[in-house]
Symmetry: C2
Subunit: 597 residues, 2 copies
């Protein structure tokens, strides 16, 4: 019989007592350390009711806490039982700090070694040790014993991703990486990130919603051969010829034995301490392998798109821009009725995208947020909360598509009827930040953390800010969130490099009133500068092509350079998208891209 | 007999062979991990001839390399024998990366455990292990066996620093920190940073040039008592009553035994893995202590100056501003002759400072750099290189004072006669960056790395940059370079907090032609903002009070906000400094602070 939601924490505590534990930590993670989880790995949602894309729960005998970041501070309070859960800020109060404050000497905190990286385990261990408590691996996960209609693991077919979209063969990619392994005296690299595996083998799957990921594991050997561990149900007839003789397709059940063999052979094995489940290096080390910690070798080459991928992204953004413009033109006609609901607009927009060539999926569930719902950063309109787009409010729509040639992600904020001076002031400051980032030129070696402030300054000047990053990496028909590139406050060391695709999305949110976010995707390109002193310089090319709502711009806040940028951008949108849309959309687009004096 | 300079590397190689080593690493460091070294610790200079404040040499049997940062790339080539030493960039090619590329399997690299932190040792160990080589501690340092007129360690008297300057008693400081140790279940904290020890005990010394540091070690116990380990020659009669009964003054020779006792008692001992010589935690651990790694607990409270210290800094900057204005007024009269040398101007400026009340020392050797010498970031005029200040060039002067109530550091760049449009363009861009940083408001949690870009943007826009940080922390009658606060490109996690003093010093350098740097000190203060959403906001108060050279400003590049800032700053300089200076300086100052239209 299913356990009722409010009883789950109670049941888990019972289970912990039986396993001799004082507590258990439940991250939003699966054994691939992937942001996008299949239903069977949604243990955090099962236990707490919280459905956001990031968070961690800790259940102790006397208390239970859930940690989420700034995007989810409102959502978590509406989803979890606040009698049971204390909601905390993941960044301001990291889980390890909280643990070392609340754990008592002799406490035993359990964790699932498949759901935490070695780096996370080290931090948890240190936190426990500060409190005189112990951290213990638990296998199987105690939640799985309680979760009785737990969904089966997904088993979508794995298909080749053609070279017309990838631009480089899997063989070439493996050859390059294997030379790097050789140089670093590494015998084998363990790959567990599904997007790394998808990229390396030029394959795509369907194991999670909205992202064509094949969940599995892989080993890349120093000689360029590889083993790909998949649920055998996922393997299609075309896969073997696509992968060629140098790639062994094995059942995922063979992974533990293979790791044991590598250990017994004393292999030098590369594992990413931030992206591999700690179970894997622990097993390797136990059987004698020398585990070498280092970045997943696919990370950087995957992030730095080649010419074919960049061109694909540009193409996908033209079709996506046409779809979004079609939607916005419709919205400008229909919104005045005041009768449209968030779900009406969402389905119209989704339909516009579905009709585009090479469209495969949305890149995430469309965020269609009217008025105060716009302040909930990762809002999802459901039956209960669904609002109408009322005159005098602003409407925020964040959406994207998965096309065979590229992944898109765009946010626009639209005035429904008239707007207030405050709306226009905030919108224009967000736009100024967006433009400043879009126009940035920066020397080789610059990280996203260094550029983040550029987008925030127009808000900071008046004591305002937004509680999310300014930009995330985006994959090529892969994750709409992709590392290691990122533009955010957090300290990070990855320099931006040509070919990286990122979002440029400053925002401003007034809780209970409205939200503003303006998001385009950009690609890092080499910049030409006159006065070079031998340094390499980079800049951004904006690839999203959809106008900004001019009725929300306070022109007096824009300087000449900003107006020039906006006029040039709108002229480009009109030139590229105009020919792709129907005549009523074109009529709207011509007005929407009119030159600002 | 003394070994000639060119033979030192040869002699060291011989010594290494006798000790069974394939190489040895020579950092610019002493056993206190302090930037400012006494002469007896200048092993890097002895070995290589390089006298910069940061760098590392590695001697292997077949090659020798010296690593310096961007400030020293020109200087190192002029100081070391490039036949013997390959000069490398410390940041672009870190020592560990280079080591793992050049070491061969079986190599044995030696290091002095007194000169490297545990964190550095881990990185070196990993680099060696990648290459199949080993890292071995060497004691004593093989250089000491070769260095025959090595200076004796300094033994300047240690004196109390009065509460009128510190604002808080040592007892209060120790009480607060000891409560923190208790909360974190730490028995003893090891302190080795001389400025931490100076701050905690309210003492000053004179063991290194220009910074009143007492070199020594200290232990702070959970009960608020402490042990201070000093060379007994440094102890004065006033020290014991100043420190009181809770502080045991011990000879530095007793440290090894004391650490052994702590180990045998199984104490939980805090060591900073980035600031303690690895010898110390290694000894503690060997005898059974539980070494807990964490930040030096004095770091943050020392950096966040209290009201008395901030007021002292403001006072010191008034006197320092008067001294620098007196110098600049003199320079404006005398420079037209074209006969002044860098050393003439340096001694005039130093004399102006010496006459100020509470002056104790320069805070570093004055950088007096004419024309192309300005492009050498840490230039020091000596007999050979000393240039005249010629008409048509720019002159850069970076200097500071140690006053009992505060430490100052200021850079101005002055046109000697007429300037070129390029000079004015670059000067104005540097000034725009300086003003943007001075005007920044930012939310609690913002790090210096996030603000660094604000100062660089006006240069980045035209493809220019500067190869040093934008700001360093400054102590209170202590180090002119002080952590953990910093404004620089590098990833760092310390948020800026009220009371921190930093420099604001963007620059631009054209090798072989000229250098521009504009430096004021600022203190982080709470900002009042109208539209707060519960966040705390901070801003900078500029405390340096000396005009910028208006003849180098291209007014067309400044916007209204920037002009407003500059006019308000100059009005403040005139109001505060005007009454403090003689009439001819006042006449110059009135003109120099005239309002820009």
């Amino acid at each position: 019989m299913a356990i009722a939601c409010e009883e789950r924490v109670h049941a888990l505590r019972g289970q912990l007592v039986r396993q001799g534990l004082s507590g258990f930590i439940v991250p939003h993670a699966d054994e691939y350390q992937n942001e996008y989880l299949p239903a069977c790995a949604e243990r955090l949602a099962w236990l707490t009711g919280f459905t956001g894309s990031a968070g961690t729960a800790v259940v102790l005998s006397e208390q239970a806490a859930i940690f989420v970041d700034g995007r989810y501070t409102l959502q978590v309070r509406s989803q979890v039982d606040v009698q049971v859960w204390s909601a905390r800020h993941l960044i301001e109060e990291p889980v390890p700090s909280w643990l070392s404050a609340v754990l008592r000497p002799g406490d035993k905190l359990g964790y699932d070694p498949w759901l935490h990286t070695p780096q996370e385990v080290r931090q948890l261990k240190e936190a426990c040790s500060k409190a005189g408590a112990a951290l213990l691996p638990c296998e199987p996960n105690p939640i799985d014993a309680l979760w009785d209609s737990r969904p089966a693991p997904p088993a979508a077919k794995v298909v080749p991703h053609e070279i017309v979209y990838t631009g480089t063969s899997s063989e070439d990619k493996r050859y390059k990486l294997s030379r790097q392994l050789k140089n670093e005296n590494i015998g084998v690299a363990v790959l567990t990130a599904p997007d790394s595996i998808a990229w390396l083998f030029n394959i795509r799957g369907g194991d999670v919603e909205h992202t064509p990921l094949p969940l599995g594991f892989a080993l890349l050997y120093q000689d360029g051969t590889a083993s790909l561990f998949l649920d055998t149900n996922k393997v299609t007839a075309v896969l073997k010829p696509h992968l060629g003789p140098a790639v062994r397709i094995q059942s995922v059940t063979e992974l533990p034995d293979t790791l044991e063999q590598l250990g017994k052979a004393g292999e030098r094995v590369l594992c990413d301490p931030n992206r591999t489940a700690s179970w894997i290096p622990e097993r390797l080390a136990r059987f004698g392998a020398l585990v070498i910690e280092g970045d997943d070798p696919c990370l950087l080459p995957k992030a730095c798109k080649n010419a074919v991928e960049i061109n694909g992204a540009r193409e996908a953004h033209r079709r996506d821009g046409a779809a979004v413009c079609e939607f916005l033109a419709w919205l400008s006609r229909e919104a005045r009725t005041g009768q449209l609901s968030e779900r009406d607009t969402q389905s119209y927009l989704d339909d516009c995208r579905r009709r585009q060539p090479l469209w495969k999926d949305m890149s995430f569930p469309t965020i269609s947020a009217a008025g105060p719902n716009g302040a909930i950063v990762h809002y999802r309109a459901d039956e209960e909360q669904c609002r109408r787009l009322e005159p005098g409010t602003v409407y925020l729509v964040d959406s994207g598509g998965q096309y065979l040639d590229g992944t898109t992600d765009i946010t626009r904020t639209i005035a429904i009827g008239s707007s207030t001076p405050e709306h226009r002031d905030r919108y224009t400051r967000v736009l100024k930040g967006h433009i400043a980032l879009a126009m940035a030129t920066f020397p080789k070696g610059t990280t996203g953390a260094q550029l983040d402030t550029v987008a925030r300054r127009p808000l900071w000047e008046v004591g305002l800010d937004y509680d999310h990053g300014t930009g995330h990496g985006v994959g090529s028909y892969l994750g709409v969130h992709e590392g290691p590139q990122r533009i955010s406050k957090g300290g990070q060391t990855v320099a931006l490099q040509p070919g990286m695709i990122l979002s440029n999305e400053p925002g401003y949110y007034k809780s209970g009133e409205y939200g503003i976010r303006l998001e385009n995707l950009v690609v890092v390109i080499p910049a030409t500068t006159d006065r070079g002193d031998g340094r390499e310089w980079f800049a951004f090319e904006t690839i999203t092509l959809v106008p900004f709502d001019a009725s929300l711009i306070d022109e007096t806040l824009l300087n000449a350079t900003e107006k020039d940028w906006l006029n040039a951008y709108h002229a480009r949108v009109w030139a590229v998208i105009g020919p792709l849309v129907d005549s009523s959309t074109a009529a709207w687009l011509e007005r929407a891209t009119e030159r600002m004096p």
